[in-house]
């Protein structure tokens, strides 16, 4: 059984202005997450990430398509899904005058079994703030409360919408290790994010949304491959024959020379090509064999950022 399934989801919202065209939030979006997997949904603001979360959580109904959470329809089988699906919603607030501990205990009371509130509060790093009212917490602390509440019922599947937004780097790492712990316990996690490092590090596979459509899905490595990006080696040499020498190598696609600085681009090899990844070695070996002295040699592999840019046409950071 697949833990989280979305099939051909379509969702439109009423137009903002009277008489305007309806806003298409999702158009034929499908994704599936196996039990115990950590999956990512990546996209810039307005790509449809939060709508996807709301449809999975059952707080909205899709115009078309099907949602299943552990085999259940989150709207028709509300009672059964609520007990096993933890959800962290973007922009959802809490009882502001209650303290961290009061909130976690309150939400714990909704579930027949779950985590010990005090230890969970420690685990998300809110121990020192446990008696502070929610409305007095910083944005990052509030974020951690909402993560704790998504987990307090010991869910079998969790949807985390912007897990680490507003967190400092240390707190972010702490949240990441929390996700690793969830994975170790077999909890299915859907991580919605706009942080490349986060999804690359945590997710077994990911889905890239752009303007309400799925533009790519796969592992981070597959997405980088699919984007057709090539590794490059940059180096510095005074040898005028080096460019020609390197250009003759089978792993090299082309060489750009800017004075003493060479940029060597590898061939567009598939993931199974034995030459892949050997660009640095091949270039180094060829230069050594020819007795060419090169300095500042560096390999640059395409990153998920580059892939995102190539697949959606603009960089994520602009969002």
């Amino acid at each position: 059984m697949t833990a989280l399934v979305a099939q051909h989801l379509r969702k439109t919202y009423r137009p903002r202005r009277r008489g305007g065209a309806p806003v298409v939030a999702l158009d034929d979006v499908s994704l599936s997450v196996g039990p115990g997997e950590v999956a990512g949904v990546l996209g810039r603001n307005g790509a449809g990430k939060s709508t996807t979360v709301e449809l999975l959580a059952g707080t909205r109904a899709p115009d078309a398509g099907r949602v299943r959470v552990l085999g259940l329809d989150p709207r028709a089988d509300r009672g059964r899904v609520r007990g096993v699906l933890g959800v962290q919603l973007q922009g959802a607030s809490l009882h502001g005058a209650l303290t961290v501990r009061e909130l976690v205990r309150l939400y714990r009371s909704f579930y027949p079994r779950g985590l010990a509130p005090d230890r969970l509060i420690e685990r998300v790093g809110l121990g020192p703030s446990r008696d502070v009212r929610f409305e007095k917490l910083s944005g990052g602390q509030q974020q951690r409360v909402s993560v704790a509440l998504a987990l307090v019922g010991a869910p079998r599947a969790v949807v985390l919408d912007e897990l680490t937004t507003g967190l400092d780097p240390q707190a972010r790492r702490s949240m990441w290790s929390l996700v690793e712990d969830l994975r170790a316990d077999g909890v299915t996690v859907l991580l919605v994010s706009h942080l490349m490092e986060e999804v690359e590090r945590l997710c077994d596979h990911l889905t890239i949304l752009d303007a309400g459509r799925v533009v790519a899905r796969g592992t981070a490595a597959e997405l980088v491959d699919r984007a057709g990006l090539r590794p490059t080696v940059t180096l510095r040499t005074d040898d005028l024959g080096a460019a020609d020498l390197l250009h003759r190598l089978p792993v090299v696609e082309h060489v750009d020379a800017a004075g003493p600085r060479l940029t060597v681009t590898g061939t567009a090899a598939g993931p199974d090509d034995p030459r892949r990844g050997d660009l640095l070695h091949e270039v180094g070996a060829a230069l050594a064999a020819a007795g060419v002295v090169a300095t500042e040699t560096q390999l640059r592999r395409p990153t998920l950022d580059d892939a995102f840019l190539a697949l959606t046409g603009s960089p994520l950071e602009d969002s």
Binding site: G79, H95, F110, R123, R173
Partner: protein, 283 residues
């Protein structure tokens, strides 16, 4: 806070994290989860804390009616016994019913809707909607806490009236209690309607205040209804504020409660409650 990212699986402390494998059948469809009595209690305590920590919101429904009671009660003309009421005065038959009605209306029509509108606006109800708890439980808890506030306000007003102003208890305490209960349902229904139609927390307070002053003015809060044009005076007697004042006054005097007042309260409950149920949105 956890100091650093653990480096090996063995380092991890996982005893406070979900243990899915403890489930009897990990792959089996889960059972429906219904929040138990503990959840209802926890939510009621949470709402009580929210209301209790909103100090400004408590001052008005508890303080203002008592102030009105005392200022009116010190008026010497009110001490005059009204014939045929077993020694009761205008304080008993008019000021005290007015005071108790104000307590109910302030809590039901102004305070409660502002909380509900705030919860909806900020996403509290939406967040609860993805837990096994139903947002409807928040409504029940708020109503319960509102009723507790009303009890406190009524008790305070009665203590001041009996101990200091020399008021007389109602001739028919059970009828008075019943009328008060019916007043609470009617005012809560109006309050739910306010919460249903108000788009923002601020507008909930504004609409609640306007509704409170409108039914209050027509119900004799600022002066006798007899001074109003006939049509308005009659309307005010049907609306929940005037109806409650009339019915409570009758219960205090020991005369038959006017049918129009009971019908007015019942119809207000049904119409406002029905409209609120139809229009209320969780987000």
């Amino acid at each position: 806070m956890t100091a650093a990212r653990p480096t090996t699986p063995a380092d991890r402390t996982r005893d406070d994290l979900p243990r899915v494998l403890e489930l009897p059948e990990p792959g089996a469809p889960p059972h429906a989860v219904r929040p138990g009595a503990g959840a209802w209690w926890a939510l009621t305590v949470a709402e009580a804390r929210m209301v209790g920590r909103d100090t400004a919101g408590l001052v008005v429904p508890l303080g203002m009616p008592v102030l009105v009671l005392v200022m009116n009660g010190l008026h010497p003309g009110l001490a005059e016994v009204i014939p045929g009421t077993d020694g009761r005065t205008a304080l008993d038959l008019y000021v005290l019913p007015l005071t108790l009605t104000m307590v109910v209306a302030l809590v039901g029509v102004i305070n409660m809707p502002s909380f509900l509108a705030y919860y909806r606006r900020t996403g509290v109800l939406k967040r609860l909607g993805v837990t096994p708890a139903s947002p409807a439980m928040v409504l029940c808890a708020q109503a319960f806490v509102g009723a507790a506030q009303i009890l406190a306000g009524v008790a305070l007003a009665l203590v001041v009236a009996f101990a200091w102003l020399g008021a007389t208890p109602p001739a028919d305490p059970w009828v008075a209690t019943g009328v008060l209960a019916l007043t609470v349902t009617a005012m809560f229904a109006v309050g739910m309607l306010v919460a249903a139609v108000a788009p923002t927390p601020g507008s909930a307070v504004a609409i609640g205040l306007v509704a409170f002053f409108a039914i209050g003015a027509l119900g004799g809060m600022f002066g006798s209804r007899e001074n109003l044009p006939d049509a308005l005076a009659t309307l005010g007697g049907w609306l929940p504020f005037g109806a409650a004042v009339d019915a409570l006054g009758a219960a205090w005097a020991g005369v038959a409660v006017p049918g129009s007042a009971v019908v007015g309260l019942a119809v207000s409950t049904a119409v406002a409650g029905g409209a609120a149920a139809a229009w209320f949105r969780w987000e």
